[in-house]
């Protein structure tokens, strides 16, 4: 990781925190910071991705602006975090997409959706597009299975490769070795950290989602988004299984597993993304970086729109609107697959990687270093005082 203004500023603030340590109980970032005395660029990159942006340490900070030390750790770490997305992007040539990421992701999505819509309109007979299809394989009458499945698969596999390469870049840069990945315990602990969003708890009583007050709303909304996404994924997987192995083709009945999963997941995604978007709008802007808002919003909107178009398709699949809605939905999903490695989506990979690094560090660290001769302080400090009479 190269030096940037954000990294230099984050290092300055980390040094204040390391001399202070009052926020030690909030999350994994502070104990990780305390395991170091000096911070390389890669250390800062690691800490930035370990931060879950709960903002607890901003409201608790005795050095927050307008104090001269101007410590605003959540904000500067968010800025660094965003820079790491570019620094670890694969291939390197695409690092630039993280500049003005909101615009780029939105544009890319719009272009891909348009291409799919125009493509379907151009290549397919209007009677087919605007006809009523309810038979098994109805969707493939509009967009052939080979095109829909093939294109998605190719793009998806590429995106997964790009994510893996991003992970590799992060892992190497933060001093990791491949052999470290072979150990089951830290991996399992990391999985639990990720699945429970352990560090989005503010040390137990919630985060500063909106302002100085504490809540667990953001955690629940993120859970809704994450698990909603996973359930939708499971829906797609089941459909693929039915189609490939049972030769049972979509559309499936309302009570079938793919539709039920899709509905549950879709509702989760809509609630989660809308809620997270709302939180971004109403929350105190001080500990956030305004210019990063676009990247967040673009991804949230894309995920929300996909779910919404999915519901539209489900509701109107027996009408002449099905063809157009299918093209829209497929276009959006395809757009999402394309932008996966070049959008805010990557935060999941780097945060998980940082959590894994944290677990490994915890395992390897011996008992915390006691830097002072620890012994007898509980016997009261000292009877001596600052006395004018002794002058």
């Amino acid at each position: 990781m190269h030096s940037t203004d954000a990294i230099i500023e984050a290092r300055r603030q980390a040094e204040v925190c390391n001399a202070c340590r009052y926020c030690e109980g909030y999350c994994a970032v502070f104990p990780a910071l305390e395991r170091r005395r000096a911070f390389t660029n890669s250390d800062i990159a690691y800490l930035a991705n370990l931060c879950h942006n709960c903002k607890g340490c901003y409201y608790a900070c005795q050095y927050a602006p307008p104090h001269a030390f101007a410590v605003n750790f959540p904000k500067v770490l968010a800025e660094v975090r965003h820079e790491t997305y570019a620094a670890y992007a694969w291939p390197r040539a695409f690092a630039g997409v993280f500049e003005r990421n909101g615009v780029i992701v939105s544009l890319a999505a719009a272009i891909i959706v348009t291409v799919v819509l125009v493509g379907v309109g151009w290549l397919q007979d209007p009677d087919v597009i605007f006809g009523i299809h309810t038979q098994p394989g109805a969707f493939y009458a509009v967009i052939p299975w080979s095109v829909m499945g093939g294109l998605s698969a190719v793009v998806f596999l590429y995106s997964m490769l790009a994510l893996v390469m991003g992970f590799v870049n992060f892992w190497r840069d933060t001093g990791g070795r491949a052999s470290e990945l072979a150990d089951i315990t830290p991996l399992a602990q990391t999985a639990s950290d990720v699945l429970s969003l352990r560090h989005l708890g503010g040390g137990g009583h919630g985060c500063n989602d909106r302002d100085e007050s504490f809540s667990t709303l953001r955690r629940w909304l993120h859970h809704a988004t994450f698990y909603g996404f996973m359930i939708c994924f499971a829906s797609t997987g089941t459909a693929w299984f039915y189609d490939t192995f049972l030769n049972w083709m979509a559309p499936y009945p309302i009570t079938s597993l793919p539709v039920v999963l899709g509905c549950v997941g879709g509702i989760g995604l809509i609630i989660g993304t809308a809620g997270l978007f709302w939180l971004k709008l109403v929350s105190d802007q001080e500990p956030t970086s305004r210019r990063l808002l676009g990247a967040d919003v673009a991804l949230l909107m894309l995920l929300g729109t996909i779910s919404f178009s999915g519901f539209l398709l489900l509701g109107l699949r027996a009408t002449p609107a099905m063809g157009t809605l299918l093209a829209l939905h497929v276009g959006l999903v395809l757009a999402f697959f394309v932008v996966i490695p070049y959008s805010k989506f990557v935060h999941g990979v780097y945060r998980a990687a940082a959590l894994l690094r944290n677990r490994l560090e915890l395992r390897n660290s011996t008992a915390p270093q006691r830097v002072l001769p620890a012994k007898p302080a509980d016997k009261g400090e000292t009877a001596e005082i600052f006395s004018a009479s002794a002058k």
Partner: protein
Amino acid sequence: MLDFSRTYDVLVVGGGNAAMCAAIMARAKGASVLVLEHAGQSFRGGNSRHTRNLRVMHEEPTSQLVGSYLEEEFWEDLKRVTNGHTDEHLARVTIRGTTSAVSWMSQCGVRFQPSLTGTLSLSRTNLFFLGGGRALVNAYYATAQRMGIDILYDSEVEALEIDHDVVRSATITWRGFPATVKAKTFVAASGGFQANIDWLRQYWGDAADNFSIRGTPYAQGKILRNLLDQGVASAGDPTQCHAVAVDARAPKFDGGIVTRLDSIPFSIVVNRDAERFYDEGEDFWPRRYAIWGWLIAKQPGQIAYSIFDSKSAELFMPSVFPVIEAPTISDLAAKLGLDASRLNATIDNYNSAVQKADFNPQILDHCATQGITPPKTHWARKIDTPPYRAYPLRPGITFTYLGVKVTDRAQVLMNSGRTAKNLFASGEIMAGNILGRGYMAGFGMSIGTVFGRIAGEEAAAHALN
């Protein structure tokens, strides 16, 4: 916007820990409460925003405290650190009061955590605030707002008018404009006077200009002065304050915890003339850190330099300011503005006095010097491994001891021996009754919390009677 014609049941002067405890307690008893805080919202909370723990008595282990810490041991500790400059009755009231304070604090939204790394020695006696003092202050303000307590920031109380042992009204400056506020009872919780450099200069002369004030600049002691001038009895030695060594680059005010330096026992400390002046290794650092502010204050220019070599670089908590580093002692002297030949002489002298022994930072290792004055009695190692390093040091003032005299019901006493009928005090402004000298980690917050609660309860009872 405040209705200045209204008469509140309780008016609280100040916005730190002691003030908020009193305000919340009074409101809980049904009183209408107004809090007047001199600072603006971002800097509310006085010195309390820089704290990290309070000392509590407990009979058995709790989720955050190990072992037990009983009244007698607590009292013995206090007696020792104050050298007897305490009031046993008030002290025991405080000590006992800490037991019920903890659950009350939790109800007010204060959260606790295990003791911070580097403070393991306090894990039996001191309860740490999750996120530190500012998080605690935030919790109290949120609770106060929820309960309907009126809070005014940027509101300096200039005077409390006492007439026949009764406070009639408060004169305030609110956002720069003068106003008068009426209340049935008053709680003075406005802290010490350590930020009032002119006042410090009365005892310290020009040396006071070189002090760094570790906490809030709002601790001007205006109400303390005002009350003492109106015949209120005082407690605690006016000439004393708690002072530690801080980095000389610390800001004049509000540097807080990060400016303190723990390098001294593993270094030698020289003054402006490049001469040593005190045994750096006299005892464990937690037992000695509070004399160094005073020692440095007596040096010319109130400045000193802690000098060590690369062997000792990682033995203490990292400091917030960068260490000053040089390949040779002469270069280091140049960077510090010290006379190079004198510094070389001091270090040569010290090095040749160092005896071979087993250095161990965890114990009193008796690695001592021989034949120099002052000696260094522990952790003395040759300073011979470049790069050489230094931190500049100044006295950092934590708080002053002078306060108003109170009863065990937090009622303020007059010089006449009578109590002021409707005036109560809590926190730093009355801590001198109990902590007449010395210091014991976490006890300031214990006093403020216990007496804040008493003051609030008593003030409400008096007002509603």
